[in-house]
C-alpha cells in the first residue's frame, strides 16, 4: 500500500517567489497535516485539514496557506519566500478523527530559498 506521497521532493526558489507543495494521504485517510522541519530541529505544526476544512493552524504568518481537495489530497502554499523558509516540509495523514490518531509522515519536500 502506498504511504503518504509528497511532491516535489526537492526545489530551489529565490526570495520573494511563491511555492506550492503537494501531498496525497494514505488511501482512506481524511486528515492531512503540514509540518515545517528546519535543519537540526523537530517538526513544527503549520496546518491541519479534515474533510476539506481547516481544523488547526500553528504559529506561522499569513504567507502560509493550504487547502484540501475532495479526494483528500492537499496543497501548501508559501508566498513571498524568505531565506528562513528553507526547510523540509512534511505532510502527515491520520486515519482516525480530526484531531487524534497516529501521524503517518511522508518523506517531505525540501525547499531551499536563495
Amino acid at each position: 500500500d502506498a504511504g503518504v506521497t509528497q511532491s516535489p521532493t526537492h526545489l530551489i526558489k529565490t526570495r520573494g517567489q511563491q511555492v506550492t507543495l503537494r501531498c496525497s494521504p494514505i488511501s482512506g485517510h481524511k486528515s492531512v497535516s503540514w509540518y515545517q522541519q528546519v535543519l537540526g530541529q523537530g517538526p513544527q505544526f503549520i496546518f491541519q485539514y479534515y474533510e476539506k476544512e481547516e481544523r488547526g493552524r500553528g504559529n506561522f504568518p499569513d504567507r502560509f496557506s493550504a487547502r484540501q481537495f475532495p479526494n483528500y489530497s492537499s496543497e501548501l502554499n508559501v508566498n513571498a519566500l524568505l531565506l528562513g523558509d528553507s526547510a523540509l516540509y512534511l505532510c502527515a495523514s491520520t486515519g482516525q478523527g480530526a484531531l487524534t490518531g497516529e501521524l503517518f509522515f511522508g518523506e517531505g519536500s525540501r525547499l531551499t530559498v536563495l
Binding site: 497535516s33 523537530g42 513544527q44 491541519q48 488547526g56 484531531l99 509522515f105
Partner: protein
C-alpha cells in the same frame, strides 16, 4: 515555542550497548508522549508512545520510562544495533489534539559496529 527539551543532541553507542535519550516537558496539559524515528531522507515514523497512567512501556528493545512528577520521559534502546542509527524525536501533546504536538529538537544516534 519549543516546550519539549531533548538531550543529548548526538549520541554514539557501541553495538550491543544501551542508548538513552531524555526529554522534559513544561505543559501539564500534555498527556500523550510519542517517540519518532527518522532515517536520512525519510519522514519521521512512530516508534513507541506512552500515556501518563503508566510509568513504563516496553516494545521489543525499545522502552519508554515516564516520570510524571518530574515531567520527564526517556527512551531506552537495549542491545543497540547499527540499523538503529537514526535521529530520534520525542514529542508531547494533549491526547485529543494532534495539532498541539510539540517535538523535541532531536537526537542523532550512531551505533558503531
Amino acid at each position: 515555542q519549543q516546550q519539549v527539551k531533548q538531550s543529548p543532541q548526538s549520541l554514539i553507542v557501541q553495538k550491543g550497548g544501551i542508548s538513552i535519550i531524555n526529554c522534559a516537558y513544561e505543559n501539564t496539559a500534555f498527556d500523550y508522549f510519542p517517540w519518532y524515528q527518522q532515517f536520512p531522507g525519510k519522514g519521521p515514523a512512530l516508534l513507541i508512545a506512552i500515556r501518563p497512567d503508566v510509568s513504563e512501556k516496553k516494545e521489543g528493545r525499545f522502552t519508554i520510562s515516564f516520570n510524571k512528577s518530574a515531567k520527564q520521559f526517556s527512551l531506552h534502546i537495549m542491545d543497540s544495533q547499527p540499523g538503529d542509527s537514526a535521529t530520534y524525536f520525542c514529542a508531547a501533546s494533549p491526547v485529543y489534539n494532534n495539532n498541539d504536538m510539540r517535538f523535541g529538537a532531536g537526537t542523532r544516534l550512531t551505533v558503531k559496529p
